[in-house]
């Protein structure tokens, strides 16, 4: 499976160090899933809508491997979030859209771990059955996600902050 989705910059709201990405489990299927040779990449995307050609969606040089697991196990009760901690935090600079690619070579067929998705109104995801496929099928629906990490506050000086509270900008 090869799956890409794009998160718009205004949905994140600023620069962020992404430490984990979570999916919310839907009630169907099993409470666990097991995926082999699983990889997650993050990077930037210049467009609000994806191309069917996976590699065309990356801003050149931005594609970063953030998770690489021989076996990745997911487990959650219905409607619970299942966080996937990244091996390497991703430094999202807040200046473009965040592109996420999930790959796995095989899955344990005994477990079907379904998650929630939503209608975005634009071609925000693309999927192919094989990791090696250069193109996939576009969809206006994409996974519901939760990104967890740290966000940078706007750097300022103490004097600068004081001016926000003092009428006229001075004491």
């Amino acid at each position: 499976m090869r799956y890409q989705l794009v998160v718009l910059d205004d949905e994140i709201g600023g620069s962020m160090t992404v430490q984990s990405i979570a999916w919310q489990r839907a009630p169907a299927g099993a409470s666990q899933g097991m995926y082999y040779v699983a990889k997650i990449y993050m990077g930037l995307c210049a467009s609000d809508a994806l191309s069917a050609t996976f590699e065309d969606n990356w801003v050149p040089g931005s594609k970063t491997l953030v998770l690489d697991a021989d076996t990745l196990s997911l487990s959650a009760a219905a409607n619970e979030w299942e966080p996937v901690p990244l091996d390497v935090p991703f430094e999202y600079d807040g200046t473009g859209n965040l592109l996420v690619e999930v790959q796995w070579a095989a899955a344990n067929p005994a477990y079907s771990f379904y998650t929630w998705k939503w209608e975005t109104g634009a071609a925000r995801s693309v999927k192919a059955g094989s990791v090696s496929s250069p193109t996939g099928i576009l969809s206006t629906q994409m996974s519901e996600l939760m990104l967890t990490g740290t966000m940078a506050l706007e750097a300022d000086t103490f004097a600068g902050i004081k001016t926000l509270f003092v009428p006229g900008g001075s004491e």
Binding site: W104, F113, T115, S139, M146
Partner: protein
């Protein structure tokens, strides 16, 4: 004093733990894990 402490924290601690949720629970995926 409390405001001054808060403002000082904003200067000294310029990062904030955050959870960003994208989308909502509308439809169950047709493929396991992630998939449209």
């Amino acid at each position: 004093m409390k405001l001054a402490t808060l403002l000082l924290a904003m200067v000294v601690l310029p990062v904030l733990a955050a959870d960003v949720t994208v989308g909502s629970a509308q439809t169950q995926s047709s493929d396991p894990w992630c998939g449209s």
